[in-house]
Amino acid sequence: MFPGIPMLNYDVVVIGGGPAGMAAAVRAKELGLNVLLLDENDYLGGILPQCIHPGFGLHYFREELTGPEFAARLAKRLVELGVEYRTAARVMEIRNYSDLEKVVIFTSPSGAYQAWAKAVIYAAGARERHAFEIGIVGDRVAGIYTAGEAQTLMDIYGVMPGREVVIVGSGDVGLIMARRFALEGAKVKAVIELMPYPGGLARNVMILRDFEIPLYLSHKVVEVRGRGRVERVKVVKVDENLNEIPGSEFWIEADTLIISAGLVPSVKKLTAIGVEIDPSTGGPVVNDRLETSVPGVFVAGNALLINDLVDYVAEQGELAAEGAKEFIENGGIGSRKWIGVEKGENVRLLAPHRLSGERDVYLYLRVARPMEDVELRIPEAGKRVKLSLATPAEMLRVKLKAEEIRDAEKLTVEVVRE
């Protein structure tokens, strides 16, 4: 179709070689599909090779691993199964000609290619929010990094990004970076958190005590100043409505500002082919096979919604592969009817959005605010799950059996006091 560009043919092309993409490719191969995996990095694993801390794989491998260890296990399976993959291969565009005809155009060191496939699994992960997105103004200077950029510099390339550090955001990523900097002998001058509570798990909040790092809750960084390099950052206190409190400003001297203000699913290549996006997750609207609104295009991992556990990411990859298999065999993902899933009380985001009621399904969701002693309820399915604690930092996952939801017209998910 594109003359002069070498043409390849597959059942499935998987975009992204992180845990979601690798798990999808492995499962697709196990199901007998002819699969190609593409990643723009020089190595497989996505963000995992740079996440050298433990906390990965307790569910999936029943063992606590570091990020690189988790990635290596998946990569080993991939190689053992003989899955075809290419690194340094950047996907430029997806084209959707018909349900069973998609083209993935990518460039690689050996040139451009067009890979034709019946189904596409999109697992390109997420991007980090940048300083300007969270309203920081001031000088455009060196020394401002996202947490992921700093992590890549330190833990892949062995380069120290700075010596006196202010970190924006007290989620697990921000806290883990605080520890990394402190361990390397940098002075972490403060962690600044907008909300009145820390965003990370208790075991990561402990890091602050370990290294005597001050945490400013209900504060935000609003300005950076410096000549050539960051010299100081301005911090302001906020009230309960997150409005700045006049007169509360103060400056912290630092040469480095690390932004750890959350991730956003990276979906540009999907919106370009008309995939419908859910504004609350930032990822596509999907059915219980993780198929998007464009038939035969599946999504998994952080491109679907931001996951805190890599285990769920890998699980989504497998599910998408099973969807692709069914799609190719039946020429589509069928259902007699689709049951809509709606957000109820204290549910901020939720996926999948449409269920067939013909198969078991995992719902993934996040709450809007922290609450103790709550119950996750889905009245139409007669489902009640007790939770001692639900926080926005932790994604909740609940399994629904086909027979519990088969007869429902719609489902409402709520997290409420017992």
């Binding site: 050298i52 390339y157 062995g158 390397e184 909040v205 402990m206």
Partner: protein, 116 residues
């Protein structure tokens, strides 16, 4: 002299708030825990805190310029800066296998968590 330590227990997701009172290096009281595992953890945390340490070590001629490592067992907290200095000076040569013991420090094994 009595010191009071307050911890959020991290042994299980319940996250109990535990207080440990220590007098002249001896534990004289633990409150707030719901189970013996939490109590044991908090006492250890107050008297002899230890951490498994992760870092990266330079590697020559590898696919990447560094290889990530972890200590095979938890290290007493006060020794961590010394360990980090040791790791900063360590230089490895490729190939390094994931899981390989690449060095030993004060009897503690340093294990590669990435290949190179």
């Amino acid at each position: 002299m009595t010191k009071t330590y307050r911890f959020t227990c991290i042994v299980c997701p319940l996250g109990c708030s535990i207080e440990v009172r220590v007098e002249d290096g001896k534990v004289i009281g633990v409150t707030g825990h719901t189970c013996p595992r939490g109590q044991e953890w908090a006492v250890e945390e107050a008297t002899n805190p230890k951490r498994v340490i992760m870092s990266v070590v330079r590697v020559k001629d590898g696919a990447l310029p560094t290889v990530s490592v972890k200590t095979a067992e938890p290290v007493p907290k006060e020794l961590i800066p010394e360990l980090m200095k040791f790791l900063a000076e360590l230089k490895l040569e490729a190939p390094v296998e994931i899981g390989e013991v690449v060095a030993e420090w004060n009897g503690i094994k340093i294990v590669a968590t990435r290949g190179a």
